[in-house]
């Protein structure tokens, strides 16, 4: 680099190249100057370079320099004063805005600011839901639904009127999936029309599903209760079974009832589901569920209801005698701790037996 800058300097002088330039612009300390001068005294080339640099500096210094005259300076000062006046006016507005903006007075007190923000957050978090609940439920938006599909507030199936009401308007899929049922109310009209049902759900938003059981939304909510029976109270499950009972001819309902018999933790609910199934068509799934309850249910009342239903079906010719069924009945006839069940099992074998011959 330095070699390129000073191509005419001998190799031994390269270490002085930069110092020569620094000395010419008075950036070299006293000791450095002494060394350069000592070298230049014995090196004609470096002495010439130093002289050249100094000459160039003098050359530059000889040029005319622009100097601001008094009038121009005064004019600039006057312009600056005007600009400062305008700046002060803007500054007043800015200071006023800063005083009003909360960020400005919160910043110097971080602890106070944090506490205040937490308090505001808590207030909003507690008060707003209450206000929303108060006004939201008080002014429930009711929407009469027509026909359609899907589980949403606008997705009622069936032709009868359903009222889906919630405080925030339409319910989402996740609302339906995650909602807890807090209560089921229904009013029987006394005639043949199905009862009017109102299912109260607790989702992210309060939700009420109302209508008749024949309505798709109501039926789906009730089926959900039975399918996810571990999430709901026994009272709710009993109500759901009771309300779905008239619709036991439907495959969805029948399967949900079968599932309830097999999996519900509460014997009363299982019993109620068995009663509901007793009126349904004698499908294989119903028969298998009855047999499973007869064999496996720990509650004698459930087992009795199961054998009663099986007997009724056998008497009515709704059930075929197959080796599996007969084996279960024989096993119950011999081993069930309940005398009634053993007797009823024997009777059922008898009912099914003669047909087996033919």
């Amino acid at each position: 680099m330095r070699e390129e800058n000073n191509p005419i300097l001998p190799q031994r002088c390269m270490e002085f190249a930069e110092r020569l330039e620094l000395m010419a612009i008075e950036e070299l300390d006293r000791e450095g100057c002494a060394q350069v001068e000592a070298h230049a005294a014995n090196c004609a080339e470096c002495a010439r370079m130093l002289s050249s640099y100094r000459e160039f500096d003098r050359f530059l210094a000889g040029a005319e320099r622009e100097e601001p005259d008094a009038a121009f300076l005064a004019s600039c000062r006057a312009g600056l004063e005007d600009a400062l006046d305008r700046e002060e006016e803007k500054g007043l507005l800015r200071r006023w805005a800063e005083a009003v903006m909360p960020g400005q007075w919160l910043t110097p007190h971080p602890a106070f600011s944090a506490a205040l923000l937490v308090a505001i957050g808590i207030s909003i978090g507690t008060l707003v839901p209450r206000v929303m609940l108060h006004y939201g439920l008080g002014t429930t938006q009711e929407t009469t639904q027509g026909t359609g599909g899907g589980l949403s507030s606008s997705g009622a199936r069936g032709g009868s009127g359903i009222t889906v009401a919630n405080s925030a308007g339409a319910a989402s899929e996740s609302d339906w999936r995650t909602a807890d049922v807090t209560g089921i109310n229904w009013v029987s009209t006394g005639d043949n029309t199905p009862p009017r049902v109102e299912v109260q759900l607790k989702a992210l938003r309060p939700l009420v599903v109302a209508g008749t059981v024949s309505n798709g939304n109501v039926e789906q909510v009730l089926l959900n209760i039975l399918r996810n029976n571990q999430r709901y109270d026994p009272d709710v499950r009993l109500d759901a079974v009771e309300l779905l009972r008239p619709r036991d001819k439907e495959a969805d309902v029948r399967q949900a009832l079968c599932q309830t018999v097999r999996t519900d933790r509460n014997a009363a609910v299982r019993l109620k589901a068995l009663e509901a199934l007793s009126g349904s068509d004698a499908q294989n799934d119903v028969r298998d569920t009855l047999l499973a309850a007869l064999v496996g249910d720990s509650n004698p009342g459930v087992r009795i209801e199961a054998i009663n239903t099986l007997r009724t079906m056998a008497e009515n010719g709704q059930m075929e005698s197959d080796p599996g069924t007969m084996a279960v009945l024989r096993e119950r006839m011999q081993k069930d701790p309940s005398t009634y069940i053993r007797l009823q099992s024997a009777a059922a074998i008898r009912d099914l037996g003669p047909r087996e011959k033919y």
Partner: protein
């Protein structure tokens, strides 16, 4: 003995001046407009001179002057006396001037050749040289100085904004490389390299008229 007394007197004067300046800055920070104007008057001639010699146009120099002091006014509350007010002020002035030079360079690149950079027709330059005759000893010297100034100004115009700034601060403002580095927010070594590069270019361009 006499020299040491003179040096002590200079130091005392410098200390008084520094204390006065610090008081002015503090009062300005507290919103004293008169104190700020006093600060401006202490330095504005040097600022305007630097601006004029960098841009060679009165209006541009006025813009740099005004923008610089407005920035000082707006940001004076941030000044923490970690360096001298002079250094802090010049840091702002050099930034404003560099921005101006860069904008002008890019504008010039966008324009057709021959439409910009014609220093001889610029009113600021002409006004300045028109103002100078009474300061010159002889017409020959005056003419020589004018021509030389024009040549040097033309050569300086072809430097990069940063090289030009470093050259101006070193050769015409008489600042040390370290001080220039502080003002430009860079190292002394970088400033030195910029200066040497600028000097080499100028030497090459002005060789013919020396």
């Amino acid at each position: 003995m006499g020299m040491s007394v003179a040096l002590a007197g200079d130091a005392r004067q410098a200390a008084v001046k520094l204390a006065e300046e610090q008081a002015l800055v503090r009062n300005s920070q507290a919103g004293d407009r008169l104190a700020f104007e006093e600060l401006v008057r202490r330095y504005d001639r040097e600022v305007l001179r630097l601006a004029m010699n960098l841009v060679h146009r009165s209006e541009d120099a006025r813009d740099i002057y005004q923008e610089s002091f407005l920035r000082v006014y707006r940001n004076l509350h941030r000044f923490r006396f970690e360096c001298s007010f002079y250094t802090w002020l010049y840091r702002i002035v050099t930034n404003v001037a560099l921005d101006h030079l860069r904008r002008r360079t890019s504008r010039r690149e966008d324009q057709a050749p021959g439409t910009a950079g014609d220093g001889e027709t610029e009113p600021g330059t002409r006004d300045f040289f028109d103002r100078q005759p009474e300061q010159r000893a002889s017409p020959e010297q005056q003419l020589l100085g004018q021509e030389l100034g024009q040549h040097i100004a033309g050569a300086l115009d072809r430097l990069s904004p940063r090289e030009r700034m470093v050259f101006e601060l070193k050769h015409y403002q008489g600042l040390k490389l370290r001080a220039i580095g502080d003002m430009l927010g860079t190292s002394e070594e970088t400033v030195k390299n910029s200066l040497f590069r600028a000097t080499r270019k100028l030497r090459a361009r002005l060789e013919a008229i020396r």
